[in-house]
């Protein structure tokens, strides 16, 4: 029996073409929105073209020119090379020649001497009569890399930084009790005692110098009274000597590391103040160094209120020694009595410092680059911006350039650039794991709208494709 309605199949808006047009319109808009989805939710993660395996260790070349007079054979060379590789992690590459080869590479000459053994500049004068080559080998090794493992283990020297702040403080323990130091001619002392050294080390570091005077700097430990009425601090007391809570020593403005040098003047009631050594006896030195922080000199003042440049001679000498240790200036080896030509650093000291800092910088920059790659791979939501990539590229370029430069100064400069770029990339403020969205949260945000909204669209598309395929099959069957 026919139904009383019009046949729905004759409705024009129900024709196949209309239906397919409508589905196509929906799909077109959805497809047009997909690149916009990518645009609005993507995190900028630029690829770091850094292959961890390409970071191989770099070695610094050193040439030694021997004279024929000494007849130094292969055993000598092997001993030198073995000793150096165990000390400097194979980072120094020593080659022996008869004549000077390359003016850029650091070259040491072994020359015959008619008297004692001594070192002048880059020349080692060794007497011909002494044929014990192990001593010469040890001497050579000590000159090229005088740092021992034990020295490094104590970690007295600070990490490398291109600029240090040297903060000199005169601390009166208690000025109100009288007999305090009002003023000190630190600028004169700096000019006279420090500036030669600072100038000679200027190719390694720059320095900003500041000074202050404090009139109340109470100690946090009680000085022990000795039998002779003097006061003393034991070695354990020295560990907590710096009373950071009450002494205003810190610098809050720049990122450069600060080396503090404190001239401590005890109050009138606590004079004289000495340091006890490990046996409990008053030691002769009145200064001590705090590793990687700075140094302290205890000064029991003469009857004067103002310290002149001459009064500051012995504290300045102590400070200078502490500064040497903090910067990693090597001491001269036992067998050498070298003749320093200028007050300040001798050239071999400067060269060894340059080499040591270069090795450390190269190692640090490679470690930092490896850490960056690991971090970026581990946290997938972390953005990697243009600045970070630029810094990584700069660090890699500097490391690559190390292959082509030969002189110690150039190697050092490249290594300093490399470590600076690597740490600026690693500590860049946008390398923080941002609002970290775990995958479940992303699903929770996307599913309600898209899963339930797109299911009918997908179903309709699938149905239409099936219907179209059936139609084609039918049409082919009809034709056939």
């Amino acid at each position: 029996m026919p139904h009383p309605f019009r046949d729905p199949g004759t409705l024009p808006f129900q024709s196949t073409s209309i239906r397919r047009t409508i589905i196509a319109c929906y799909c077109a808009v959805i497809l047009a929105a997909t690149p916009l989805w990518w645009l609005t939710t993507s995190i900028q993660r630029l690829p770091l073209n850094l292959d961890i395996n390409s970071l191989h260790p770099v070695s610094i070349p050193v040439h030694v020119v021997t004279s024929n007079a000494h007849r130094l054979d292969g055993e000598f060379r092997q001993a030198v090379q073995q000793s150096l590789s165990s000390k400097a992690w194979k980072a120094i590459d020593v080659k022996f020649f008869d004549t000077p080869q390359d003016t850029l590479v650091q070259t040491y000459h072994i020359r015959p001497s008619d008297g004692p053994t001594y070192v002048q500049g880059n020349d080692i004068f060794y007497p011909l009569t002494d044929s014990s080559t192990p001593i010469l080998a040890k001497l050579l090794v000590d000159l090229i890399y005088p740092f021992t493992e034990e020295h490094d283990h104590r970690h007295v020297s600070v990490q490398y930084a291109p600029r240090y702040r040297l903060a000199f403080s005169l601390l009166n323990e208690d000025a109100a009790d009288g007999d305090h130091i009002i003023d000190w001619d630190i600028q004169g002392a700096l000019a006279k005692y420090f500036s030669p050294f600072l100038k000679s080390v200027s190719s390694l570091h720059n320095f900003t110098i500041e000074s202050q005077v404090q009139y109340h700097a109470p100690l946090s430990v009680q000085a022990r009274t000795q039998e002779d009425g003097s006061f003393a601090l034991s070695q354990e007391d020295l560990a907590v000597f710096i009373n950071s809570a009450e002494w205003s020593l810190s610098s809050s403005v720049s990122n450069d590391p600060v080396l503090h040098f404190i001239l401590f003047v005890p109050s009138r009631d606590h004079r004289p103040l000495r340091i006890l050594d490990l046996d409990g006896k008053p030691s002769s030195s009145s200064s001590f160094i705090l590793p990687q922080w700075g140094g302290v000199v205890m000064f029991n003042p003469p009857e004067t209120q103002v310290l002149r440049v001459d009064d500051l001679l012995s504290p300045s000498a102590a400070f200078l020694g502490q500064l040497h240790s903090l910067l990693g200036v090597p001491r001269s080896p036992a067998l050498v009595n070298h003749q320093p030509r200028e007050a300040g650093l001798s050239s071999w000291q400067l060269d060894t410092m340059l080499r040591k800092r270069s090795i450390e910088n190269i190692r640090d920059s490679q470690d930092t680059l490896r850490s960056i790659v690991r971090l970026v791979n581990q946290i997938e939501n972390m953005p990697v911006g243009e600045k970070v990539r630029g810094a990584v590229d700069a660090s890699l370029a500097a490391l690559r350039q190390l292959q082509s430069v030969r002189s110690t100064k150039d190697i050092f400069r490249r290594s300093a650039d490399a470590v600076h770029s690597a740490s600026s990339a690693f500590f860049s403020p946008d390398m923080l794991a941002m609002l970290y969205f775990p995958a479940e949260h992303k699903y929770a945000v996307y599913t309600p709208l898209f899963a339930s909204g797109l299911i009918p669209v997908l179903g309709a598309v699938v149905r239409e494709i099936k219907a179209w395929k059936d139609e084609r099959k039918l049409a082919r069957a009809k034709v056939a």
């Binding site: 029996m1 139904h3 309605f5 046949d7 729905p8 199949g9 409705l11 129900q14 239906r19 409508i22 589905i23 929906y26 903060a167 208690d174 000025a175 109100a176 009790d177 009288g178 305090h180 009002i182 003023d183 001619d185 630190i186 600028q187 004169g188 720059n206 900003t208 110098i209 500041e210 000074s211 202050q212 005077v213 404090q214 009139y215 109340h216 109470p218 009450e246 205003s248 810190s250 610098s251 809050s252 403005v253 720049s254 103002v306 002149r308 929770a444 945000v445 309600p448 709208l449 898209f450 899963a451 339930s452 909204g453 299911i455 009918p456 669209v457 309709a460």
Partner: protein
């Protein structure tokens, strides 16, 4: 000229200290002022002067600076001042509402609640003034352990006509610019006082700073810390560290009197003299008509103030103020501001409100007030609803010179500056409708239901004085006043609801979308309801 100054500076610093002109001087000053209601307003002022020094020229900011060697000047502040090449700096951290009626004016006019920081900096540096401003805020926030980093762009304005420089500005060819920011919700406590004391040469171990007992200081009705750095052409860079407080001796005394002494107020006395202070003075004054006696007695100045030279005093030094019978004691002029300004935000709704400011002039002279309002973008002004009425009747003539910079959402605050003319014995009421913003989920602070603190408004009263002989009107400028800070209650969304809202709204939208899609793409079919007939296919 610059190089001469620098060489003079270097030479002056290298010169041995036993010459007659010391290069740094330190002055400390303690003043007590009894107020009419029995409270005591104290002021500790520590001033260090760097003779002959000049602030750093901003164009040298890219190069290496000269070494800084100080004896008395705090090194931490010196580093900040030179790092960002600041010419003038004023930082105050206050707590409490200053009552101008009962307490009059204070020596330092910045009594607004919370943190207020403003600097004058010259242009011409490699980095912009806003970058240096940001560095200054962060450095000072680190130095004083307070969240001054919160004084960001959303709180920074440049009202250059209201906050004039208090010292001189060096002439480097580039103009100086002001940056001012205020954060009314900043709390002041001991952790701000400790680094403050560390900047003093004598710390809290000698001199008048020994009286600074945080327990008593932060228990005061009003207290404030201030750091002021100005440059004077004739003397040099001066830094003043000021602590002001209004203490109530009645609360601290055992016998319940308003007599006070150092011991009763601070539980401490001055034990020792600060050995490096060039001058160490104490001044005490009382309101007119009251009779007090001081022990030990000090010398009188012509203003009626008792002065003590603490360098000459007997230590330990304790001052006692007792009521006495004779009226001959020290008096001070009770300097009350001519206007009373009160500000309020009315309206129960969290969507809109009304800001009303009332200026009461109880004196016989008319007052012209310059009113500055900096409102964060949370509260938006409807400036067209600004009306002024005097004693109830609306009068448009009372307002003039209105300058307005609208607020930018998530950006800079609105600045309204206008001049109000308040006739004698009149109360002028300003009202303006405001709209309260609706913030995003992430904009709200952790304690969202508390509300937001709005910074105090600044009023500079000008006394209109008529010169009877020449009939000319002159304006005498008085120190600026601060109104109270307001608390605005903004509507908060439900913070537990993000995923719920996403699910609800997205489900509804998806349902409607899917239904429309189905209706548009499905075909009609006529279906028989009877059991035995078949479905008619289209």
């Amino acid at each position: 000229m610059k190089s001469l100054c620098f060489t003079a500076l270097i030479l002056s610093l290298i010169t041995p200290a036993w010459t007659t002109t010391p290069t740094e001087q330190f002055y400390e000053e303690l003043s007590f002022r009894n107020l009419k209601d029995g409270r005591v307003a104290t002021r500790f002022s520590f001033k260090t002067v760097l003779n002959g020094s000049v602030p750093r020229d901003p164009s040298t900011l890219g190069q290496e600076d000269q070494s800084q060697h100080y004896r008395l000047f705090p090194l931490a502040m010196g580093q900040i001042l030179r790092e960002y090449a600041l010419t003038e700096l004023h930082l105050t951290l206050n707590a409490g509402n200053w009552d101008y009626d009962r307490w009059g004016y204070l020596d330092e006019p910045s009594v607004g609640t919370g943190a207020e920081l403003w600097t004058w900096m010259a242009d011409g540096a490699p980095s912009s003034i806003d970058e240096r401003w940001e560095g200054t805020r962060n450095a000072l926030g680190g130095l004083f352990c307070s969240s001054l980093g919160g004084l960001n762009d959303k709180r920074t304005t440049s009202p250059e006509s209201v906050f004039r420089p208090e010292g001189d500005l060096p002439d480097w060819g580039k103009p100086h610019r002001l940056r001012h920011a205020s954060l009314a919700s900043e709390n002041v406590c001991t952790e701000n006082l400790t680094p403050f004391i560390k900047l003093l040469p004598c710390k809290a171990l000698s001199g008048i700073a020994t009286l600074l007992n945080p327990h008593r200081l932060f228990d005061a009705d009003w207290h404030g810390l201030g750091v002021h750095v100005v440059w004077n052409e004739h003397t040099g860079v001066e830094i003043s560290l000021v602590i002001q407080a209004v203490l109530n001796p009645f609360r601290f005394s055992q016998e319940k009197t308003i007599e006070w002494s150092f011991n009763s107020l601070f539980k401490k006395q001055v034990e020792r003299q600060c050995p490096i202070a060039s001058a160490s003075t104490l001044s005490v004054s009382f309101p007119a008509g009251e009779s007090w006696s001081l022990e030990p007695q000090g010398s009188k100045s012509e203003g009626g103030v008792s002065l003590y030279d603490l360098a000459q005093a007997q230590y330990p030094f304790d001052l006692q103020a007792k009521a006495s019978t004779d009226l001959s004691t020290s008096v001070h002029e009770d300097f009350k501001p001519p206007l009373r300004v009160q500000r309020a935000l009315n309206g129960p709704s969290q969507a809109y409100g009304r800001l009303s400011v009332s200026f009461s002039n109880t004196g016989a002279a008319p007052v012209q007030a310059l009113y500055l309002e900096t409102m964060p973008w949370l509260v938006q002004f409807y400036l067209h609803t600004l009306t002024a009425s005097a004693n109830g009747t609306e009068n448009g003539e009372l307002l003039s010179h209105i300058q307005y910079t609208p607020a930018v959402p998530h950006g800079k605050p609105a600045t309204v500056q206008l001049e109000v003319h308040v006739p004698a014995y009149t109360e002028v009421l300003l009202t303006m409708e405001v709209a309260k913003s609706f913030l995003r989920y992430t904009d709200h602070p952790p304690d969202a239901q508390r509300g937001w603190d709005l910074p105090p408004a600044v009023v500079i009263p000008f006394l209109v004085e008529q010169n009877s002989s020449s009939n000319a009107i002159s304006l005498r400028k008085l120190p600026r006043m601060y109104t109270n800070s307001l608390l605005v209650d903004l509507a908060t969304p439900d913070f537990s609801m993000p995923y719920n809202v996403i699910i609800f709204t997205c489900s509804l939208i998806a349902f409607l979308f899917g239904s429309v899609f189905n209706m548009l793409t499905r075909n009609f079919v006529v279906v028989s309801l009877k059991d035995d007939s078949e479905t008619e296919k289209p």
